[in-house]
């Protein structure tokens, strides 16, 4: 416990010092409040407009969950398909790189044309940016099974599907979880960007606060989206921890 405190203490002290300096700088008029509002102002705004912020956060969360859910199920399924059928992989995988390289801000208007304003476009945006890490990590995990275990399995001459389901998928689980962890952050970015264009959620809240010169509200929105992403990453870590504690899905004994 003391170890944990000693570990985290410097970060907390630094945060407190930073907020104190920031607050003082704004109060003393060294920095214009319309450019950088004081932490106390941001806090007051957050409390004041909490119902709006909370409702926007819920909307963003819903898009992230649906987008991430889609990229998880489609990413893992595609990876297994690519792994099992190499020709499929050679045919399709190069085009999946599109999902990794496309600047989401560039494609968002197209999504609006296809899906209209609202949550479908936002979810699609979250899905597009979060698909590739899950797909790529799952594929790597499937490919990098312990060769000694592979040979041990092979002596029983299992069917290809049994080999995949009993050896390759379980050994890929740590990789899938890593991919999911990366994708959680990306899905949040994708959702916020989608909301800039298609409306709704924290993205829209930040964008309209900007047009109204409400920098304090912009900060509230930014902090809410960061906290949301952070909590989602922690949730994935928690699930991974529980899963791996229940069963040690590792490379070798």
């Amino acid at each position: 416990m003391t170890e944990a405190i000693r570990d985290k203490l410097p970060a907390w002290l630094f945060l407190i010092a930073l907020l104190a300096v920031w607050e003082t700088a704004v109060q003393q008029g060294w920095i214009a409040a319309y450019l950088l509002p004081a932490p106390s102002d941001i806090y007051a705004t957050t409390i004041e407009l909490w119902p709006e912020i909370w409702s926007a956060t819920q909307s963003t969360l819903s898009s992230i969950v649906w987008g991430l859910g889609a990229s998880f199920s489609i990413g893992v399924t595609l990876a297994i398909g690519f792994f099992a059928i190499p020709i499929l992989r050679r045919a399709i995988l190069p085009f999946c790189l599109f999902f990794q390289t496309v600047p989401i801000i560039a494609i968002a208007p197209l999504l609006v044309i296809w899906f209209g304003f609202g949550e479908t476009t936002v979810t699609a945006s979250a899905f597009i940016v979060s698909l590739f890490p899950i797909l790529a990590n799952t594929l790597t995990g499937l490919e990098e099974t312990d060769p000694l275990l592979r040979e041990m399995f092979a002596q029983y001459r299992p069917s290809k599907w049994k080999m995949i389901s009993k050896l390759q998928i379980p050994s890929a689980i740590p990789y899938i979880l890593t991919g999911l962890r990366i994708s959680v952050g990306l899905a949040t970015i994708g959702a916020i960007v989608g909301e800039f264009i298609a409306g709704g959620g924290l993205g829209s809240l930040i964008d309209s606060a900007r047009t109204q010169q409400r920098v304090d509200l912009v900060f509230s929105g930014v902090i809410a989206s960061s906290v949301l992403a952070l909590l989602l990453v922690l949730l994935v870590d928690l699930i991974s921890g529980l899963l791996l504690r229940k069963r040690p899905y590792t490379r070798s004994a």
């Binding site: 000694l148 041990m152 092979a154 379980p170």
Partner: protein, 250 residues
């Protein structure tokens, strides 16, 4: 009682692609039914390759390798490492061969538990490999090899990485299993005393991947009496001398 040979190998050659030398070079030997054989040789002489050929994991480049039809399909391999699946408990690891070959019978769990108990693992059935000692892991690996009810075990230095006391216990366990389950085995080792202790017969392999034709003691057939007249230590010394000669020639 005379019986057909379990294994009959004649002029067997194995060379891997892109290699200049045969791993196994014109090897000839046969193993009579029910005989348990130790295969002794310096590292890198092709012992493991021979086991893999017998198991069918590798195919011969040349020569004849015949396995008694009653045996084929009833061979089980025990690797040098336990090779347990880390996310499966002892019970699930032993169950694996049945799942993979689609042979999970209704009473499979009873059989698995009985087998694990007979190997002294009754208390460890729900443990994961990382929670077991090296010796226990190897016993789970033995149970996994035995659950398919093999008639012959091919063991590739299974006890080499274990401490001496554990090794002695597992050697005795293997002899006990042989009696109880009517098992035949080929046991690869580079320990001379282990080879002499576990084998009805010790086959010496030299560095060129051949069976040494100048066997110091042939325990089978006519010379069965010789085995009885020599003490364990005398037999170990005889093999040790020949083993050193072979190493020296290389």
């Amino acid at each position: 009682m005379h019986s057909a040979p379990s294994i009959d190998v004649e002029n067997l050659v194995k060379r891997f692609p892109n290699q200049k030398r045969d791993v196994i070079h014109r090897m000839t030997f046969s193993v009579p039914g029910r005989q348990c054989v130790s295969l002794l040789g310096p590292s890198g002489c092709g012992k493991t390759t021979l086991l893999r050929l017998l198991m069918g994991i590798e195919l011969p480049t040349q020569g004849r390798l015949a396995i008694d039809p009653q045996l084929s399909g009833h061979l089980s391999y025990v690797f040098q490492e336990p090779r347990l699946v880390p996310w499966r408990t002892s019970r699930e690891n032993v169950r694996l061969p049945l799942e993979l070959s689609g042979a999970v019978a209704g009473d499979a769990n009873d059989a698995i538990e009985a087998l694990l108990t007979s190997l002294g693992l009754g208390e460890r059935m729900s443990h994961f490999p990382r929670e077991l000692s090296g010796g226990m892991q190897m016993r789970v690996a033995l149970a996994r090899a035995l659950i398919t009810k093999p008639k012959m075990l091919l063991l590739d230095e299974p006890f080499a990485a274990l401490d001496e006391r554990t090794r002695f216990r597992l050697q005795d366990l293997l002899l006990d299993l042989r009696e109880r389950l009517n098992l035949q085995y080929i046991f690869v080792t580079h320990s001379i005393s282990e080879a002499v202790y576990l084998g009805d017969r010790v086959l010496l392999m030299d560095r060129t991947g051949q069976i040494d034709t100048d066997q110091p003691i042939e325990f089978t057939g006519r010379n069965q009496s010789l085995k009885l007249t020599l003490t364990f230590n005398e037999r170990v010394s005889a093999f040790a001398r020949r083993f050193t000669e072979l190493e020296g020639n290389a």
